[in-house]
Symmetry: C2
Subunit: 241 residues, 2 copies
DNA sequence: ATTAATTTTTAGGTTTGTCTAAAAATTTGA
DNA sequence: TCAAATTTTTAGACAAACCTAAAAATTAAT
């Protein structure tokens, strides 16, 4: 009971902080927070370095340093000079809000407007910064409260909670086992178009028939009907269950 | 025939210019162009003054002057110091593109997401700057190529052509005549909510029953069923056909 | 037709987010 | 372990879009 109370209080306070912060968080800052979140995930929770951020923000390390100082002042990141950064609770909340919007818009673009999954990233990068809580929630409802986006990535709920997803790389699955394709680890148009060409989409069943000893490439049975060749590079970037 | 050729050439060239300009036209510049377009319309094609623009951009006259110099350099406006501005052909094209997106998104927000017509302006102000031709055209198709937005304002087509709309103010309609509500001249939430409260919406039929000599207020028959009172202020801002 | 009032522009500054070049800290490796 | 290589930060500048204060042009009024 008292744990519930504390939880509630924490939520209320966080909301208050977030409402204040939101108004003070620019397009650019939102982007940094989003990228820090994603790189931290990739790193397994470890600090993200300045250079890593420079790469992903398409800027120079010096610019990143400036921004990190600023985000730290606003208490959105934990920052010790030369030691990389992680998000604070507030920073994470904002980042998850941006990711939520990005992924919801991606669902809209594919499901409602008929875009291909390889065409939506740049548009969603813009839409993710539209600032209207009501819009986000109505969009979510309109789309049927989807849990995953067109690439299989989980969509956080309005409170920032991610739906759980137990999956592993196809490259980690033993031979002869049948699995379902549930996501991708790389979002480049080239990779996605490659999958399209091989008719591999979310929901496809994949049974591993053969793994080459030479180059670790695969021959798999797709949807119980056709055999296709899959390079190790592809197998490492397919998420299955 | 040769006129067609010239027309085609003009279109191709304009397209070329626009594609180049688009990339160089910022969020803020787009806003100025949109506002100049709308104020010019209101003025019946006359020049828009610096002060007028300052009001509508929520900035100071000095800032407007700066921006006008810049837009003139880019050949987006016709600008003679102290004499106000109008849009060039290229400026108009960009402005109409922004207005097109604004109005299409408004249709989306009302028709698909269930927003009220009094809640959509601020959101559409953000969405109108999303930069993707494919998105705009797919959205247009998804919405069924609407000609008018939820306030009855005409939506320009992809080439910038406005659907024609013959309408007049309710305050100009003679007594006893029956007309159809097709638009509003003011978009403030207060006005729109006032109409909601009186169940006046796009498509309502209105028959003028009585005009008060004292204050020029109206009693009208709404949808052939109920009599409602309408102030002159409201009548002056309702468009009917 | 001048002066007064108003509008518009210019001049000089600020903030945000970027840059290059150079200095400082950390990491690597002989 | 300590010098070299790498990473990160600081210093100083710049462009965009805004500001205030003051100067210039236009418009209005006696």
């Amino acid at each position: 009971m008292s744990k519930n109370l504390i939880n509630w209080l924490e939520n209320v306070l966080l909301q208050g902080i977030i409402i204040t912060l939101k108004a003070m968080t620019s397009f650019t800052e939102e982007n940094y927070l989003k990228i820090i979140y994603m790189l931290t995930e990739l790193n397994g929770g470890n600090e993200v370095s300045t250079n890593e951020l420079a790469e992903h923000t398409q800027t120079k390390a010096a610019s990143v340093s400036d921004m990190l100082r600023k985000l730290a002042e606003k208490n959105l990141i934990n920052y010790r000079k030369y030691q990389g950064v992680t998000l604070t609770k507030e920073g994470q909340y904002i980042a998850l809000g941006v990711i939520r919007k990005h992924r919801l818009w991606e669902v809209f673009l594919v499901e409602k407007l008929g875009f291909g999954w390889d065409e939506i990233h740049d548009i969603a990068e813009q839409l993710e910064h539209i600032d209207s809580k009501e819009l986000t929630e109505k969009l979510d409802k309109f789309l049927g409260n989807p849990q995953f986006d067109p690439h299989g990535d989980p969509i956080p709920d309005a409170k920032g909670k991610m739906p759980s997803m137990t999956s592993c790389k196809l490259s980690e699955v033993p031979i002869d086992q049948t699995v379902v394709m549930v996501g991708v680890l790389v979002h480049s148009p080239a990779f996605l178009q490659h999958l399209d060409k091989n008719q591999i989409t979310l929901g496809s069943t994949i049974k591993i028939q053969e793994i080459s000893e030479f180059d670790k490439s695969y021959i798999v049975l797709l949807n119980n009907s056709q055999s296709v060749f899959i390079s190790n590079e592809v197998a490492k970037n397919l998420l299955v269950k």
